[in-house]
Symmetry: C3
Subunit: 396 residues, 3 copies
């Protein structure tokens, strides 16, 4: 038997998600989180790169405006030296080209107020929405219409979960972090909803000390495991770990290993995971009982993504909120998002060494446990609104 | 209106300076400054890279010789470990290949004095001239003839300026610095002679504290503004800021800004700027009254240039020289060349992010204030003596 | 005479060793040293890259196994987080793919013990031999047969040297070091067996203080100088410095230099040098009288090689071994391998600047002293077992 990495069935599967294999720079015409609201104060200017789009944001009278972060004149970036001379515009620090915040049209040039190109040149703008303490940007084609709803690009309300904290509800406590990871965004997505990657968490302090035991992994146990979830508001997702459709694997005889049955602990074994277009993961019952976590793996460029972790909990009153804040600060953030998920960042960056060659996507030797990843790839191939091309001169 | 960066007239203009757009590595068959004389002592060896040419210089009995800094045998650089065993040659540190300083011919091999290749192999030499305390090298084709005069590639004597300090005159005080900037050389040239880039100097300490006020910029006010200047000794130039052909812009109503009229200060508002082939800028009345400055933006490679700033002043006697030296050390250098021009370096390196893609040259959204830059591009396209190709094996 | 680097005879010579010019990544289907035995303890896992092959080694019950350091599933490297769950296998840290050490076959998946791909996927293995305190790996095509002997790829026993310490003999004291050098492996080989590169050692402390004098270099003095050496056990080599076939050059009249005749010192002038396929150098009488040194220049990738220096000495008894160890620690290592050979590393890395362009191999202006290098190139072109291609997806 010659060393091999791919058999016929893998090749067939790869053809079924061919569009996904091209999405090195992510999918376009979707909403992506850019900042927490509190990260942009009144009058502040902030820059962010999403799926290769360099975007500058300015907040004026509370409202946020998003524009291409590059002056049409000579390509200087506004964010290199923020300069705003009135409430309706942003000015380039180099020659004073001044653009309207809401339409991107060149309104004046500082030293050439009568210039014939005024009003005839513009830079593109980006739709911005601020909800639930977060700033989302619609990234893709400027003329894409109709604009999809923000809700359609977020994990949906899980109506079978009686304590489900929906991201945009009023009575939800929401707090989180985001950081840059040096891997392609797909390695983030595929690590998050992978039902057998939990092997890497086996040595985690929290898991060991809590008396909970992680199984060796989960395998599909019903035809539901790989099906698409299509929600009324347009959300499209697939299940990762879901105890209704997956079964925990507790032993491996070849290696002489068996995992003690889970004890009654903080119910870590009850979590449920699902992936959502364009790049979000929903983890119910994490980082604690009755909590949920949303993770986003937002493409920055071909080799980096912004990793978001936001913890959510329903709160009836202010006491609930205080308790939630205390849990988040003492357990959720340090033990969950930081200690528990740290190895996930490591795994993604290790894999990037291999996937640096983008041709490696689609060459995997997949096994039964990879059904969640394969389903995700098919879902994304079918429901994306366009594949983001590598940035070119005309788009940047 | 779709976001755009270039209209028809820009495209037409770009065609008029197409050769300039190719000059990523600079123009060849021109004289460029390489060192201040005092930087190469007797018997010292120094290396410099100009427009992709790696050149080694050796000074013997006061005279400078320039050769290709690469041994014909195996490509070792002489400057990696200088070795000279007599007054007429330079020897490679690796195997002792020894070349004549004046003709580049292989004169001996240390370990093989009778070798048949002796006298049959050579490395190329470069013309070197030392004038006004500076060392200039003629960079380009080895067989280019006739050799142009050094004067033809420097800013000329400005006969309408009664106190003009000509670079090569005896009674001129001359002192300066040079440093490497991480941008293409053209971004240096185009920042220097740009009549509206002065916006970036508005917050400069010297400008603010001196009571001088810089206008928002200068716009062309006569057909002379964009004309070529062709001098009797062969120098070719264009005007940047010139109060005869440009008018200062003192207000912008859209933004509600106006600049107070210049007060009588150190006459900073009287400076006059011109650009000269192949890569020099002349600034009259800077860094002080009756001074001039020459800047050079010497191509090193495609992404770096050596930035020269030399202050010049006419001196009748030794007292004048002492006063000039004191002014240079206390004002000219720290307040002018360093403090005032620092933001110019920043601007060039910021723009390099955009022009890293060399296709961006010629894609600009130019406006009325860019006439000096457009004229410079046309001048350079017409009067260059050749476009330097990226270094290739046969040339390096 | 135009500056030139190559004449007709050089071009002809280059055609005679065309295969060598392609060997940027080394030759395949040869044995290369990977570690000293003591560098891999029982149960330890170590990774090494040779000629672009990423290899992981594990020692179990004393025996070493070599496998491709990349899981077939998703390309994770085993060595990123070593994990072994029994004595016959290696397990990937990410999803528990577990491969047999001796055959590379997928034996189980931790979370999917009944998976249909078990037994059907494998990763390639590498032959490993451990001899004389060193670990050698056969790098190349997995199906290359018959496997050449380890001896055929090492310097042979020199039967005309009565005190010759053969690498694999029982009564040989052997100790050494290895380190990474930032140059192509061929610059290592060609520096080692170069009879005129000794110029760079002329200022060496040990040479100067010992009263020994190095000549300016050695030139061929008999037709034997460039001949191939073909040994009964299959070793193929060429002479570098060999006092029977080369003569020392003691003066250069053009430069007015002459070297005093060698004095009776530590016989450094009696050393003899030969190069051996695929990448070894044998230096007899170094770092001391009656010692030998083997150097290897093992290709890592196209721009780096692992530089090995191993000192060997015949020892009749334990006292001999103690004396040898003391000499090695106080003279052989610090004065020889470190101080004396340091400039060789510098030379190779300096030359890499030039040979970064792989087209430079074959463009040299060779002279009489280069016969050893030219002969080596021809030998390697004729007796290599294949040219290692740059690593591709299917091979990595």
């Amino acid at each position: 038997m010659k060393a091999q990495r791919m058999d016929r069935s893998v090749a067939i599967a790869a053809r079924e998600y061919a569009p996904y294999l091209e999405a090195t720079w992510g999918f376009k015409n979707h909403w992506y989180p850019a900042f927490f609201s509190q990260e942009i104060s009144e009058n502040e200017i902030k820059a962010v790169t999403i799926a290769g789009h360099d975007i500058v944001l300015r907040r004026v009278h509370g409202r946020l405006f998003g524009l291409r972060d590059k002056c049409a004149h000579r390509g200087a970036r506004f964010s290199q030296e923020p300069m705003c001379l009135n409430d309706e515009s942003i000015t380039c620090w180099y020659h004073g080209f001044t653009y309207g915040l809401s339409d991107g049209v060149l309104k004046t040039i500082l030293a050439s107020p009568e210039d014939p190109i005024i009003g005839k040149v513009r830079i593109r703008t980006y739709p911005v929405e601020e909800r639930g303490g977060m700033v989302f940007i619609f990234v893709g084609d400027e003329d894409y219409r109709p604009l999809p709803t923000l809700e359609s690009d977020q994990p949906p309300r899980m109506t079978d979960n009686p304590v489900f904290p929906y991201l945009f509800d009023e009575n939800v406590f929401s707090r989180g972090i985001h950081r840059t990871v040096n891997s392609n965004w797909r390695l983030g997505m595929e690590n998050g909803n992978d039902p057998t990657h939990i092997l890497i968490h086996r040595k985690n302090f929290y898991v060991v000390m809590s008396g909970s035991k992680l199984p060796l992994g989960f395998l599909p146990a019903s035809p539901e495991a790989g099906k698409f979830i299509e929600m009324p508001d347009g959300q499209k997702g697939v299940w990762g770990v879901n105890h209704d459709h997956y079964r925990p694997i507790m032993e491996n005889r070849y290696l002489g290993l068996s995992v003690p049955k889970p004890v009654a602990g903080p119910r870590i074994d009850t979590y449920r995971i699902s992936s959502w277009m364009p790049s979000a993961l929903l983890v119910e019952d994490f980082p604690g009982s009755e909590w949920s976590t949303i993770e986003w793996y937002v493409p920055i460029d071909d080799t980096r993504h912004e990793y978001w972790q936001v913890a959510l909990k329903l709160c009836r009153d202010e006491n609930d909120r205080k308790a939630a804040a205390e849990f988040y600060e003492t357990i959720g953030l340090p033990i969950g998002f930081e200690n528990f998920n740290e190895i996930d960042l490591v795994a993604r960056e290790r894999l990037q060494q291999h996937y640096q060659d983008p041709e490696q996507f689609g060459q995997e030797a997949f096994f039964a446990g990879d059904i969640a990843i394969v389903s995700w790839r098919k879902l994304a191939s079918r429901f994306n609104r366009g594949i983001q091309a590598a940035p070119q001169q005309s788009e940047r």
